[in-house]
Symmetry: C2
Subunit: 507 residues, 2 copies
């Protein structure tokens, strides 16, 4: 591989001029854009990957040992990053290897590393106070908290959702959205605040204080990894009441579609109907048995579970079923939110007749939180609460990010790059049918499957040594989760390296 | 009230010279320290509270409305703070009222507002990179992550705990410590990694994948307000396996001691024995019924639940019972940690023969996380994991805080101020026996009870208008949770205002 050896020799691949890029662009049959024609969103960004050692290199391996000696749980660490030298779409590791990052810290870097707009937020003297003092936002917010929520978070609120609650991360955002939904469901059924009997019985998770209600989730779903501190909290019954114990909560099938979607419309429709039928049956069974499904939580694209897509029709129908049973409809956009799918929220593409009840965000949004409809406000203070309830500097940083997204129209960039990416992945799966399949995507939120888990892991491992950092999901999928400044010329580089990797593996 | 009117007129009460201070110092029978004799830890700090309006004032009330229009869950908000004008132990609200803060953002401000040492961390150009780029610490940590864990967090690790895991907040730290304990317990019982049968059955929370084990907590405990996203996560069985559903987890009684402790040694010993007996019975019953108590979690002082203390003997015995049953012993020091009790960790005062298995921290430590013994490391990567797993800037800020604590010997300050505070509270409860009782404390981590919930709320509300910000806990307790720079002269001010408030209420 000519291109690979050039790369390994430590020479920079210039933006468009590198062998890899020309190679793939030819394969795609597109015209070869000249170096000059590329309008970079980050003028100072590197022109391509640059490798100095095998990845992971010796310094990363040494640091892994040092970290494991203290942290003990560090088995997931892939690379130690030199964040100072990382810029835009490129991370530089401690061995000096510069990689094009298509994983972006598990989808949580929105506009690239060391973006000048974020640097400006941190350096702005008027923001110093927010960086130095940590408020308990639910009790003593700073002067500008309401206005920042309004200017920043409400500027991108899904239509019809007028309430917003900040949190620290995606998991606690899901936790609290679900909690708020359960409180609402129970309050509405009861017709008022908890009774003394309920406050008394909730301490040990008994009925009626902890109702037998359930929350429905889907097979393959990922909503976080917590287990329920509330079960262990007995300081005030008002914290615990109305929250069921999580025993035998129902799990519905999520569609397993065939890709490309447009070629399998009949099969896919049947698969979605099968899942919808199962959901409705669970709802009916729950209600009949006194175990109401109080809320349903669903991802627009099952992400960690393996990038499983479903159609707008499917989600429209889920909402309809929820309405029918009085179930709260929660959309978890922690990974799909903030433009990456070519819509600000992936659920914007569903054309729902009414907004969802809750929409949860985190990752690219930098602050965790969720939007909700007015009617879900909790009457008693302190039930949706913790010490910090978010982090003001992250909100300021988000403000700068949203400005950049708007000014540079990064929504369109995600769409354009997504198209180039999908076209390329489809041509590669035709070229290497024994190795990869099921190319699928929405914007740059894309994936393909490897032949088996080992092949998939090998692709991700080998492509690192061609200067591309990728992530896996599910059992045998490779997921693209680049920043929103991932332009078509970056896609070209990523695809060329994949082509080259698959070619090596076919030999 | 002469002192109060002086205050309300908007005049500054100088450090020691104010009427309030002299008044209380005389009541305590201590010598009146002259203004000159006070060595301030923060030379630029204000000399006393200063009120401009009733608290909450009109601007705070207006901002509350604005926030509630967006957030909808903002019923706990007490004041909007002008963090720029807040310094040391004083918060200034949006109406220009300056209050001596004895609550410190629910115990999470360690060295006061706008401390120059924290300002320096934020302004240090070499830290910029950590503030701008948000790493997924479990996959792509920065170059200095291992060394910062070692230099900063391990420098204050409890003796015998060699592993540390950072997290985002106290709740997710408890969640993950408990999860790690459960994984260890199950792995040890099984003698190896999860079986295929277990990985298959855990998806819907069934046995054997989700064992019937329990975690014991105590009546009155507070460990967080989450409910268990893991129950809704089905992306990979390895995330879910070994974690029980939280059905009927046992709740043991926590001692309800009489105060002052030294006057009721016999009664208190009997009360602790009653609780220990109940714990042992729960353990036995669990084991006999196949529902092993895999872990126990306990606070050194039940905080949110109402500042309930127990003796070192009680905790030594808990550890013994855990050892006897093979149960993991988790100490939740989220609120009691970081010097506030006059020990770095409250559990340092227990003189345990062996270290606890896990110790959880957050709040004053700025970063969430937990320490643990080596043997609890999790073999399979990704089981203790989330996207961010902590926040590097918070670790850097903690480094500066620990330096200040050491240089200014703030552990001794907490002890000294705690003594002054306890002496004062005891004299006040003798003076106003119809209004307050049960003064109790360890360092400045102190509390008293109001006659009933209404009286308690009235004390906290009224004392705000004497320039003192306080917090409540339990059903009718007032808790002191000041910063570590809360010196004896601040205690004097807080006690004088309490004296004056109780005098008003006695009229």
């Amino acid at each position: 591989m000519m291109a690979f050896s050039t790369l390994r020799a430590g020479r920079v691949l210039s933006g468009r001029g590198g062998q890899l890029l020309e190679g793939f662009s030819r394969a795609r049959g597109t015209h070869v854009r000249s170096s000059a024609a590329i309008e970079k969103l980050l003028p100072e960004e590197y022109d391509g990957p640059l490798l100095q050692t095998e990845v992971p290199g010796p310094k990363t391996q040494q640091l892994m040992k040092e970290l494991h000696a203290i942290n003990k749980n560090a088995g997931n660490v892939q690379l130690f990053i030199d964040y100072e030298r990382s810029h835009g779409n490129y991370v530089v590791d401690m061995d000096g290897n510069r990689l094009l990052d298509t994983f972006a810290q598990i989808s949580s870097i929105p506009i690239g590393y060391n973006h000048p707009a974020i640097v400006d937020v941190i350096k702005d003297p008027s923001n110093l106070v927010h960086l130095v003092n940590r408020p308990a936002l639910g009790v003593f917010p700073g002067a500008d908290f309401a206005s920042k929520l309004s200017e920043i978070l409400m500027s991108v609120a899904p239509k019809g959702l007028n309430g917003v609650q900040t949190m620290m991360c995606g998991t606690c955002s899901n936790e609290n959205a679900i909690k708020q939904a359960l409180i609402w469901y129970r309050t509405q059924k009861r017709g008022g605040p908890p009774t003394q009997e309920e406050l008394g019985s909730c301490n040990t998770g008994q009925e009626p204080g902890c109702p037998p209600y359930t929350v429905l989730s889907f097979d393959g779903a990922f909503h976080g990894r917590t287990l329920g501190c509330l079960t262990l909290t007995h300081s005030k019954p008002m914290f615990r009441v109305d929250i069921p114990t999580m025993n035998n909560w129902p799990v519905a099938p999520f569609p397993r579609l065939k890709y490309p979607l447009e070629e399998y419309t009949t099969e896919n429709k049947a698969e979605e109907e099968r899942c919808l039928k199962a959901v409705a049956e669970i709802m009916e069974k729950g209600q009949a048995g006194g175990r109401d499904v109080a809320a349903m939580i669903v991802e627009p694209i099952q992400s960690e579970g393996g990038d499983h897509h479903a159609s707008p029709y499917f989600f429209q129908q889920l909402q309809q079923i929820c309405k029918q049973f009085g179930t709260v409809f929660i959309v978890d956009e922690v990974q799909t939110g903030c433009c990456t799918t070519g819509h600000f929220w992936a659920s914007d593409s569903w054309n729902l007749p009414e907004p969802p009840d809750f929409l949860v965000f985190s990752k690219k949004m930098q602050t965790g939180g969720y939007y909700f409809q007015d009617k879900f406000s909790v009457a008693q203070p302190g039930r949706i609460f913790n010490t910090w309830m978010g982090d003001p500097p992250r909100l300021l940083i988000l403000g700068a990010i949203l400005d950049v997204i708007q000014k540079q129209n990064l929504l369109d960039v995600a769409r354009e790059s997504g198209e180039v990416l999908m076209e390329g992945l489809r041509s590669l799966q035709e070229k290497y049918p024994a190795l990869i399949s099921k190319a699928r995507g929405m914007g740059t939120f894309a994936a393909f499957d490897g032949k088996d888990p080992e092949t998939t892991a090998a692709i991700v491992r080998k492509i690192k040594n061609k200067g591309i950092l990728m992530g896996m999901c599910g059992t045998q999928s490779v997921r693209y989760r680049p920043a929103l400044v991932f332009q078509p010329h970056h896609v070209d580089m990523a695809l060329d390296a994949l082509d080259s990797t698959l070619a090596d593996m076919s030999e």
